[in-house]
């Protein structure tokens, strides 16, 4: 994991947060804030998808600010992989795709995973 990534969220189809992982020691959001962030982002993603004037609805991919960068990858099954990182980090989309590949292997093929 690159040094400058802060947090990874995995949000399921219904908008509930199913996984959080922090990679940096400072600025950690507490659990309730993480849940609120996940559900709020889920709703905004859905609304943004409807706002496109033309073409297929797609939702929010990146949110860039001065102090952070948020990248979201939505899978065809509705799961969102959201990564919070420092502003100058690039190639998060590829990273999130790799994470999705690992998720579909080690989570979905695990008989003891209850979704």
């Amino acid at each position: 994991m690159p040094q400058r990534c802060n947090t990874l969220f995995i949000v399921n189809k219904a908008g509930g947060l199913i996984y959080t992982r922090h990679f940096s020691k400072e600025n950690q959001l507490n659990v309730n804030d993480c849940l609120r962030l996940a559900s709020t982002f889920h709703s905004m993603h859905a609304i943004a998808g409807r706002l496109t004037p033309a073409g297929a609805p797609s939702g929010i991919e990146t949110v860039e600010a001065d102090t952070f960068r948020l990248q979201c990858f939505q899978t065809p099954t509705g799961i969102k992989f959201i990564m919070l990182a420092e502003p100058m980090v690039s190639n998060l989309d590829n990273l999130l795709r790799q994470i999705y590949s690992l998720y579909s292997d080690f989570v979905l093929k695990n008989p003891f995973y209850v979704s």
Partner: protein
């Protein structure tokens, strides 16, 4: 009298040639199937011991058929009658047919003369399985242990076969423990 089932062309299933057998199945397909099997048994048992027994039962049938198939395909080999020969055959040929590579090691227990162990660092069936803590020492390689049990029973080496998780300092390994019955040990002694 029941005739063998015939397909449309009138060829009975016992007349068709046995498939060559160099085909491979994708790991993903197998792991999904295995995962469903574990989940299926989980709803029908109450303890981890029972789950391991069910998985071993499922593997038993696979083992019986694997022995016949591998022996048939590998024309020209003699039937194994000694313990070490049989276990080496399992470790090499059966493992190669099932998992694509031989098992890691075969070891004889120093404490008891009727116990042997097949070591496998990461069994293929456990590739994507993470056992939660409240399941204790459950090892889904019990399926593989069941297959070995089926093979040994068919080859006339009655034994008790179980899968164990062995904890090392920084990793866990799987061991398949084979405990042969008295008659096998006596026969082995007679054969010298």
């Amino acid at each position: 009298l029941e005739m063998a089932a015939t397909n449309q062309k009138g060829k009975a299933i016992v007349d068709r040639p046995v498939p060559r057998g160099k085909s491979e199945v994708s790991l993903s397909a197998f792991c999904f199937l295995f995962s469903e099997m574990v989940q299926y048994y989980q709803t029908r048992v109450n303890t981890t011991q029972e789950l391991e027994k069910k998985l071993a039962g499922a593997g038993y049938g696979v083992g019986v058929r694997m022995l016949e198939l591998v022996c048939f395909r590998e024309k020209g080999s003699k039937r194994e009658t000694r313990i070490v020969g049989m276990l080496s055959y399992i470790k090499d040929h059966i493992w190669k047919a099932m998992f694509g590579k031989a098992a890691d090691a075969l070891e004889r227990s120093t404490e008891r003369e009727d116990e042997y162990m097949i070591h496998e660092k990461e069994p293929l069936v456990n590739t994507y399985v993470s056992v939660p803590k409240d399941f204790g020492h459950l090892n889904c390689a019990s399926f593989v242990a069941g297959a070995v049990h089926g093979i040994l029973d068919s080859a006339d080496f009655p034994a008790r076969v179980t899968a164990h998780t062995v904890q090392f300092t920084n990793e866990t390994r799987t061991t398949i423990l084979v405990k042969f019955s008295q008659e096998v040990m006596e026969r082995e002694r007679r054969l010298g």
